[in-house]
Subunit: 162 residues, 4 copies
């Protein structure tokens, strides 16, 4: 099971706390944690997973690992810029998005575009249809980190064919 | 000047009409039209641009051009899947998004993540901050195709350094 | 018909002359010319095609078109680094490689890995099997620019299904 | 330290034995093994590394991990086709290429195009300049798996800045 944790590089303190806890809980459950390998939510998720001796892989946008956050077990230097967001999403059996930013929104949208995997949100932005009504099949909001991880692992186990 | 026209492959009739008109207006203004080379909004924008003898380039997701829409001057076979959305956005001096879908939302989000270029919407989904308030620096809604093209060309000319 | 012209950014004068002539001949034949949009062979092929009023598309490695060579009808800003070499190759109905460099060799190898399209060389490096014997199905060497273009257009017309 | 092991999906028995031994030796030295996650050399390197409880990451070309070889600690589903070869190469502190194929040659060429990391070959194809003379700064041939790993680890430690 591989779970991507996505979120802003410039995040709130609450987002960082949530990301750390999500990383911890995923590692304790034996899931591989994927993240973008940067600051903010990405670094916090990596730190949480590493604290529980989990496997954490940073999927980086640039052509070097120089700016990678610490606490990564391995780095993938995609040199794809923000197109690496698609690599994160396609490598994941479930996506947990924490907080709101344009990059995070692109990952949520790509994950829904892919389909077939749970996309869980913890805080962050809302997306509405043109007339202000809810979308069909929106991301699933979670109440707290434990809820997010439970949703991700339970529904990924059901939806993933790997 | 290169303008990307983005939108759903399964779009409403109104979206298709808008896309055709946007393609026409961009071609008349001498802009190169970029699109995803698929059906729906993409095909309509290409048809409109071609009707005015414009240059239209389809930036395709798959490893072949077999499913490309007609009316393209040239095709780029990226074989990147939906990561090609980033290529569309980074190649554009302005982005016009018509209608709502997860793929379209990913292009809007990637274009805002890139920054520095106008992102114009004609219909489609709305994005709100967590508390329901508007985002800072959201995409710019246009009233109709002429308005969308005017906004794109005017602000692209000011913001682009190419 | 879309033909990629590949070659070193730092090329010999003979390579540049060959690339200019190949660009001219392709444009006269009505083929779209694809190139990497940089200096050397890429710039020369674009200049030759533009001199004959051809359509030339530069498929660039970086996140901006600032360093693009002149004479391009349109630019694709892939932001993929050298992974853009695969985009050039997958978009082409035939590949003509002029001169030798590691980047050029990667394009030849990717084109042969793809298979199904002619890969023509004009000068450049040689590849031998481990025991020094020739490879099965190597690239096709051309004697001069006219020969390269004739080989590309004739065999692409036969091999391409687009 | 991250070392990429590249080679044909359809390889000789000797290549597979070499790849298994290289995987073992890298894992024993504590290096992360990167590979393309397919059959042949890729699967053999993963099996060797896993036998020594190493960390092995498969960087896959398709949009699913269905065809991934066993023995991978984690999979990156790039959905980039053969452009994923660039991701493998840019993620590596050293590259060991075992055996010859067009895909393998593209990885050697991309690694030399990148520069700054050792590129070690064990068997495989030879590349000559146009006049049949050797290239400047060619890949470094190794005599056997132990030699390949020693060359990779020693020179990567010197050349890598990570």
């Amino acid at each position: 099971m591989q779970v991507a944790v996505c979120g802003p590089q410039h995040c709130t303190e609450e987002d960082a706390t949530h990301a750390y806890q999500v990383g911890q809980l995923l590692a304790r459950a034996g899931a591989v944690v994927l993240c973008g390998g940067g600051t903010g939510v990405m670094a916090a998720a990596a730190a949480g997973a590493r604290a529980e001796h989990g496997l954490v892989i940073g999927i980086l946008p640039n052509d070097t690992a120089e700016d990678a956050c610490p606490d990564l077990s391995a780095v993938i230097v995609t040199n794809l810029g923000q197109a690496r967001n698609a690599v994160i999403v396609w490598s994941a059996d479930a996506v947990i998005a924490i907080g709101g930013s344009w990059g995070t929104l692109s990952e949520i949208a790509l994950a829904k575009r892919r389909g077939g995997i749970p996309v869980i949100t913890l805080g962050g932005w809302r997306i509405l249809a043109h007339n202000g009504s809810p979308l069909p099949d929106p991301p699933t909001p979670a109440a707290d980190p434990q809820h997010a991880v439970t949703l991700a692992l339970t529904t990924a186990r059901n939806s993933s064919t790997r």
